[in-house]
Amino acid sequence: MLKFLGKRLVQTIPVLIGVTVLTFSMMLLIPGDPAQIMAGESASPAQLEAARERLGLNDPVPVQYYNYVSGVVRGDLGSSIRSGRAVSTEVFGRLAPTVELAFYSTLVSVFIGLIAGVVSAVRRYTFIDSTLMIGALFGLSMPNFWLGLMLIQWLVIGTGWFQGFGWFQASGWGTPQQMILPVITLGTAGSAIIARMTRSSMLEVIEQDYIQTARAKGVSEKKVIYKHALRNAMVPVVTVVGLQFGSLLGGAVITETVFAINGLGRLIINSIRARDFPIVQGGVLVFAFLFVFVNILVDIIYRLLNKRIDLN
């Protein structure tokens, strides 16, 4: 296991390099000039030129990349074109809400998704099954912004419940009250996917011989499902959970915007639009790192679930 971890951590390096190269080249490829975006619609050419010079945008591309990478190696991620603040300050300052949001949402969606998926697999072709699965599809087809705004409008404003109990402040992050709605918003689609995956995977497993053995032991149906079947059905589900967590990291932008959460997703998107290269680079780098980390976790869970899967 340690060897595996070591190996995977070493593999992160090329991934991170790949990400920087890719980000860098994309930045070159796409039109848009940070100096100009900063200046907006009314900029003078001299001023733009000065800004470009200051930002090093006039250097040849390889020089820019070299400067960037050598900075990173020294632990310096550079500084924002727009605000002049260090990238590390900007990025790490916003990391926690995004990671937390993704984490809690994953937790919620795993919880709801697993239960719904198992119930509907066990009660296959019944009313409950259909209801749950159609519910899941609704959850999936609702865009985040729609759900988020609806939650705010109906729950916060419409009913007044949340404000009445002092539960909710539409913007911000950190207290449990503030977390409820964003987490629901972000977690819904995930629970839908997990529910669907769990159901189909469970259906497959329930047919197996060893489930029969368990029944022959007199194991209660509930235990057959949760102790014998579920674990065997988990492999595709774990993959999806891992992916879910990943895509929540990146996909939190809309939720962050709707709920005014000062997260990394929003920062990166805004920076892409402002062509604030250093921030984008830094942010993507951090995401990539998290991602690889999540993937390692997923692989370890695979292995924990099914010892036969060989990690090396």
């Binding site: 994309m26 609702m142 189909s200 993959t239 998107i269 892409i272 998290l290 993937n295």
Partner: protein
Amino acid sequence: MQEEVNLNSGSPTGQEPVNHNIVRFQDFWKKFYRNKSALIGGTLIILLILTALIGPYLTPYSPNAQNYDARLVGPSLEHWFGTDNFGRDIFSRIIHGMSITLRVGFSSVLIGMTAGVSLGIISGYFGGWVDTIIMRLMDILLAFPGILLALAIVSVLGGGMNNVIISVAIFSVPVFARISRGSTLEVRQLEYIEAVKALGASDFRIIVMHVLPNILSPIIVQATLNIATSVLTASGLSFLGMGAQPPTPEWGAMLSDGRNYMWDAPHVSTIPGLAIVVVVLAFNIFGDGLRDALDPKTKN
């Protein structure tokens, strides 16, 4: 103890239809046909496709005809689904937008799935450095902000419907790759794979004939689900100049255009949302049926 002669023996006689291909297809079809969900899903999909093809000739209004005197009108007899902020008839727009929405959802999933599943199986089946390289590439792709990628595609290939399909497909490649890899890892170690290996089957054959059919069910689920996400993602890219441009009645775009009127006129965004649900529902029901029909163990 009974000692009667066989009336109805356990082993059936050898005289039955000769053409097994037909039999096999009939089997599948029978199962599929008897499978209620597949039937409902299939019928729904056909209906949707027919509506997409014929519907536009039958709508009461032109999809882009603006009428400032009837803005944001709720559903009524005159406008079944109400009107939007330009007073356009949402019902007509939904019908006209159906073909383009179906196309985006379906093609991008198909492309993404084909590429992703191939990569995932190869990765899981061969393992080793092939796996490492493919999966690390997928990691990069996953960690990489989609907008950047889409922007790059626009700037290299230009906007347009096909490129949005490609972009959305690319986003979903790693998802399919990871899922199929995970399941492949599991199937790979089963004895029947070893058994065909012992027969001298090539890796390609094993992958296509033995691994793929056995990992199909999570893939079907993911694919049918992904149609919804793809439609939404595609509309999310339209601001980059990708995909459907206004006033094209693409559902995802309609849904997000309704964002400003969610308080006063929630139908503007809700109705396209429901339309997407119907499509996704149809594909999911169909996918479930397909899964069952493909699984020899489920009888109905």
